[in-house]
């Protein structure tokens, strides 16, 4: 849809109320026992299993892809009564250079490769370069592209500029699934988070995503609440369901459950689906595996009992 500046500028967010909601959300909704196990398995299917390090290699990515195909030990799944075929990561997320390796390793699994792009993480490369990067990643086999916005546009109130930037990314992505990383930790205020998300959705984002994982502050629950409400209002206005991705800082099974409760409470059951909610993470999976094993055996588990991702 075209840029609606009134909707963007009129956004009001009360920080303390968002913090209060975040602090009480999880304590209002205790998910225990069998439901916890079921919810954690659901969380596994929402994970964009991610490696974004300077020392990433083909071998490292192949191992991660193996983990994405089979994120939870099959004996545990058998005990939990869930077929292994139903439990895989949502995607594998890598830098452009590793897209071919990931594509090859995931062939036949149905798991898409996601490429971070557009001068990730700062996003300050020349615009043409950023567009070219998207096209090359898509050509190399990325079905999903995680783009980053120019945070300066938000901080300077340059909403038209931001809109044009994201719309340009949209064009370059073509049919690829576009997740727009807002870098919420660098936007200064929650109102800015809401405004940036709204512009990104108007410009054609399939997903809005909290963070690159490289900022000092990444996916916090209050920013998640604000994004979820922006998504909800956009759906109300257009009928379009935009997805939400939390990335950066989610390390424990408890974090994953808190985010699922947030999504269920603020967005509803339709978003409790990998097509509309993702978690970008690397170490989170290992903690979930331990909790699942505890559920099966009744004993607290250890990291080394689960295959490395």
């Amino acid at each position: 849809m075209p840029l609606d500046l009134d909707a963007v500028r009129g956004a009001r967010v009360n920080r303390s109320a968002a913090d209060h909601r975040a602090a009480t959300l999880a304590s209002r909704r205790s998910v225990k026992r069998e439901w916890q196990a079921g919810w954690l398995l659901r969380a596994v299917t929402m994970i964009d299993l991610t490696t974004l390090a300077g020392d990433d290699t083909q071998g490292r990515v192949r191992r991660l892809c193996g983990k994405a195909r089979r994120p939870v030990r099959s004996d545990l799944l058998a005990s939990l009564g869930v077929p292994a075929s139903e439990v895989a990561a949502a995607a594998v997320c890598v830098y452009h250079a590793l897209v071919p390796a990931a594509r090859d390793a995931l062939r036949g699994s149905g798991i898409p490769v996601a490429a971070v792009s557009t001068g990730f993480p700062a996003g300050l490369a020349p615009f043409g370069t950023r567009l070219a990067e998207i096209r090359e990643s898509v050509e190399a086999g990325a079905e999903e592209v995680d783009v980053v916005i120019t945070r300066g546009s938000v901080l300077r109130g340059g909403w038209e500029r931001l809109y044009d930037e994201v719309a340009g990314f949209r064009d370059a992505c073509g049919d690829a699934h576009m997740k727009v990383i807002l870098g919420v930790g660098e936007l200064g205020t929650l109102a800015n988070v809401r405004r940036a998300a709204t512009v990104a959705m108007m410009a054609g984002a399939d997903f809005v995503k909290t963070s690159t994982g490289k900022e000092t502050v990444n996916a916090t629950l209050p920013s998640g609440i604000v994004l979820a409400r922006a998504v909800r209002d956009y759906h109300g206005a257009t009928g379009i369901r935009v997805g939400l991705k939390a990335a950066g800082g989610l390390k424990t099974a408890r974090d994953a459950l808190s985010w699922l409760v947030l999504v269920k409470e603020e967005l509803g059951d339709a978003w409790m689906d990998p097509r509309l909610f993702r978690i970008g993470a690397s170490s989170l999976l290992a903690d979930i595996e331990r909790q699942l094993e505890h559920h099966v055996t009744g004993r607290y588990s250890a990291f080394h009992r689960h295959p490395l991702g």
Binding site: R12, D19, K32, R33, G81
Partner: protein, 826 residues
């Protein structure tokens, strides 16, 4: 109902665990998340526990009937307890009285240790307390776990601090004595903490009566206090119902009554304690406004409504049950609210994933339903979400009422259930007018991102607590309490400590209450003099003076009395010296109306302006000092030195309170949230002052100065026998820029004017410096609008020898604390 332990929701056995996991994986529903009731069950011996009262450190059955308490969510029997009789109350009060000296002697530090220990005990046994509370009351265990119990512990921690600091922070004050405390069923342990902690910190001993629906946590608390060494008699718990409470209220050895509950019972207690000299604090009902401006974060406001009116099933005295939403965002607000209401989960209180549990009793549920029917009959649309609600137990879904006429009982009355009534406004001024259009004044919540608007509206709302962009925040460091018919007194913070303290009696300090001015004593015993029986001698007018016609002063104008009657005033020897107007009930009416007209402007003006005017009054009085001294000598029989001293004291009082006009600062409380909690000293409003004969000038000018200084307006009833100096003082005020109506002066027979004044619904406070039977009547008559009545029975105020402490006391009497919570953050 079944007497054995019925099912709390439990998860399935191992055989179908896997099926459940698969189901939970397939559909994103919440499962049951039961809190274990094992420890509570053990403590209650699965319902077989039979509690007595806790009196003088011992458990005693007493002679009252047995009662049972049940869980409102499933009807299970929790325990048996006793209905406390007058005998039980006698014994408990005697125990409390007997424990007073030792508890006092223990000193602040010694008491601080006990309070600290109680705080720690609440933390150490928090789970047992939380589960027992939820079983007994029906509230979600999440709330008792996360709010009730931690806040109760916080109150004991905070007040351990006040015990420690008592001597240095409250010099010249002492504990009021043995206190009777009656608490409600909606926050049983938290209300216990709000009452018991400050009382014990101040050095009082306590007889506590918990509500008959929810006696258990008070009994558990008594058990813990006993086990951990609280001295016997310091805390006594007598269980029972209203009759037990009434016995406690009426007990002659109870020095103070503290009550939280309904306004109707509050009125009864006001009447029952009238004339007894008992101190009283009342925390009563409310119909608190929840004001949403178009500049609000509406999603945040919707969550606020959830916290405001569906917290504790709406059984909260300060529930934000009246939604006032700006017309421009009405539809959007309602849409968002309805969508949110669909997600509210109602279920067993021990399920940790629910938002609302059961109402406390069938009686309460029927009451709430009755209101809904009345609302529907009045034309309101009643909406409830599809949320599943358990069929057994006293459960109700969250409810939204729209389109109700302003006169409907669902708009005006406290429902005390999960019912929100929504109204609209157009402008900030209309929002304030609607917010204040209620007999109550407990709390309010204001939602806007516009700071200027918030800080304009918050002080304008007549309520003891205003939450900006938040709601139902409580903390021990901040006082809580009402305006208007929501009661008086504060609980929490420095302001709450005063409720359990009184000035150390003057006699005790000076060794005798001599009258330094050498006046004749106060009026003759046995009531006011009957003018008819006065000597009917001629007034001895000096031939060279023109007759003086003294009038009432109402609305800035000297008025002849409505009744067209005068009284002849005589000097102590019985010689008539003047004729003064005999005010009647219509004069009272006119004076109160004039005061109401001046209230907003005088109260809203700056302290600097008020100071200038009071200094000006002092200046003009000083200029006529000789004349006033002569009048005092002639009319009241004072000797020359005494008369001069009284004029000087009046000038001094005017200076003192002029000085205080811009210095009685509020505070910023240290509450543990990211917010500024500022405690503002607001004027009480219209103060009716009853002046005593012993200080016919200083005792008139002083209270006027004290009242005006803090932004109050006054209706002054002059000393009955010696009204002349006060009437002459009118001339001084008249020429000193006091705005019309800010002070109104009546003379006459107290018994003819005071009852009208004390009963008047637009008078906010009575100061009575006479302290006789009429004062008790004033207290009784004040029950209508529950105005504050201060009768200076202890002689704390001496207008001839003002002390620093006395000034402080009057400043506090002339103001009430409003706490405004303003969270911040970007």
């Amino acid at each position: 109902m079944d007497e054995t332990l019925p099912p709390v929701p439990r998860t399935a056995g191992p055989e179908n665990k896997a099926a459940l996991v698969r189901e939970a994986f397939a559909s994103p529903d919440y499962g049951p998340a039961p809190e274990s009731d094992q420890f509570a069950g053990e403590w209650l011996r699965d319902g077989r526990r039979d509690f007595g009262h806790f009196i003088g450190g011992r458990w005693t059955g007493g002679n009252g009937a047995k009662r049972k308490t049940r869980c409102p969510a499933d009807g299970r029997l929790l325990a048996t307890f006793r209905h406390g009789t007058g005998d039980d109350v006698d014994r408990a009060t005697a125990a409390a009285r007997a424990a007073l000296p030792a508890w006092q002697e223990l000193g602040g530090h010694g008491r601080a240790r006990h309070l600290y220990r109680l705080a720690r005990q609440l933390q150490k046994r928090s789970r047992l307390f939380a589960v027992v509370e939820s079983l007994d009351n029906g509230k979600p265990v999440r709330e008792s776990r996360d709010l009730d119990i931690p806040l109760a512990a916080r109150h004991f921690h905070h007040h351990a601090g006040w015990a420690q600091l008592l001597a240095s922070e409250f010099p010249g004050y002492e504990r009021v004595g043995a206190v009777g405390q009656i608490i409600p069923w909606n926050f049983p342990l938290l209300m216990l903490a709000w009452k018991v902690a400050p009382a014990l910190a101040a050095g009082c001993t306590v007889v506590l009566k918990p509500a008959e629906y929810t006696p258990l946590t008070a009994l558990l608390f008594a058990e813990v206090a006993d086990e951990t060494g609280l001295p016997p008699g310091v805390l006594n718990v007598v269980t029972g119902d209203g009759a037990t409470g009434a016995a406690l209220v009426r007990h002659p050895d109870i020095a103070k009554v503290a009550f939280t509950g309904s306004t109707e019972v509050g009125r009864d207690i006001r009447r029952a304690t009238a004339g007894t000299g008992k101190h009283l604090s009342l925390e009563l009902g409310g119909k608190s406004p929840f004001v949403v401006f178009d500049s609000a974060d509406l999603d945040a406001a919707v969550e606020g409504v959830v916290d405001g009116v569906w917290f504790n099933q709406g059984q909260v005295c300060c529930a934000g049950s009246r939604l006032l939403v700006q017309e421009s965002v009405e539809d959007e607000m309602h849409d968002r609210l309805r969508a949110r209401m669909e997600r509210i989960r109602v279920g067993h209180p021990l399920d940790k994933a629910i938002d609302m549990g059961a109402l406390v009793d069938r009686v309460q549920m029927d009451r709430v339903r009755g209101y809904l029917e009345a609302g529907r009959a009045d034309g309101a649309a009643i909406w409830q979400p599809e949320t599943p609600v358990p069929e057994d137990g006293f459960f109700m879904p969250p409810t939204l009422c729209t389109g109700a006429p302003a006169s409907s009982s669902i708009v005006t009355e406290e429902i005390f259930g999960p019912v929100l009534v929504s109204l609209t406004f157009r402008t900030p001024a209309e929002a304030v007018a609607l917010a204040n259009d209620t007999r109550y004044g407990l709390a309010a919540s204001v939602w806007t991102e516009d700071l200027s608007l918030a800080l304009d509206v918050a002080p304008a709302i007549k309520a003891g607590t205003v939450w900006v962009n938040c709601t139902n925040r409580f903390d021990a460091a901040s006082g809580f309490g009402g305006y208007r018919e929501s009661g008086f007194g504060r609980e929490g913070g420095r302001e709450g400590m005063w409720e359990y303290l009184k000035p150390i009696a003057r006699g005790a300090r000076t060794g005798g209450a001599a009258d330094p001015a050498g006046h004749v004593a106060a009026p003759a015993e046995g009531g006011p003099p009957d003018p008819a029986s006065r000597p009917r001698r001629r007034i001895d007018h000096p031939r060279d003076r023109i007759d003086r016609t003294r009038k009432l002063w109402i609305g800035g104008v000297q008025k002849r009395p409505d009744g067209g009657c005068s009284l002849t005033v005589a000097d102590p020897a019985g010689t008539p010296v003047a004729e003064v107007p005999r005010g009647n009930r219509k004069d009272v009416r006119n004076a109160v109306e004039a005061a109401a007209g001046a209230r907003a402007r005088w109260g809203g003006g700056s302290g600097h302006l008020r100071a200038q005017i009071l200094y000006f009054v002092a200046e003009n009085l000083a200029a006529r000092a000789d004349e006033f001294a002569a009048e005092l000598t002639r009319g009241t029989g004072a000797d020359e030195a005494g008369a001069e001293a009284e004029v000087e004291a009046a000038v001094q009082s005017l200076f003192t309170f002029a000085a205080w006009a811009d210095k009685h600062d509020g505070r910023v409380h240290s509450t543990p949230f990211r917010n500024v909690t500022f405690a503002m000293n607001e004027p009480v409003g219209t103060v009716a002052v009853r002046c005593a004969d012993r200080t016919p000038l200083a005792g008139v000018a002083g209270p006027i100065a004290a009242a005006l200084s803090q932004g109050n307006v006054a209706v002054v009833v002059l000393p009955e026998r010696f009204p002349v100096p006060g009437l002459d003082f009118v001339q001084v005020m008249e020429t000193s820029d006091i705005p019309a109506g800010a002070v109104n002066v009546l003379s006459g027979i107290h018994r003819e004017v005071m009852p009208t004044l004390a009963a008047h619904d637009d008078v906010d406070q009575v100061w009575d410096f006479v302290a006789d039977e009429l004062s008790g009547d004033a207290e009784r008559l004040s029950a209508g609008n529950l105005k504050r009545v201060w009768v200076d029975r202890e002689g704390a105020v001496d207008w001839l020898a003002p002390s620093a402490r006395q000034g402080d006391l009057l400043l506090r009497k002339g103001t009430r604390v409003k706490n405004i919570w303003v969270p911040y953050g970007v």
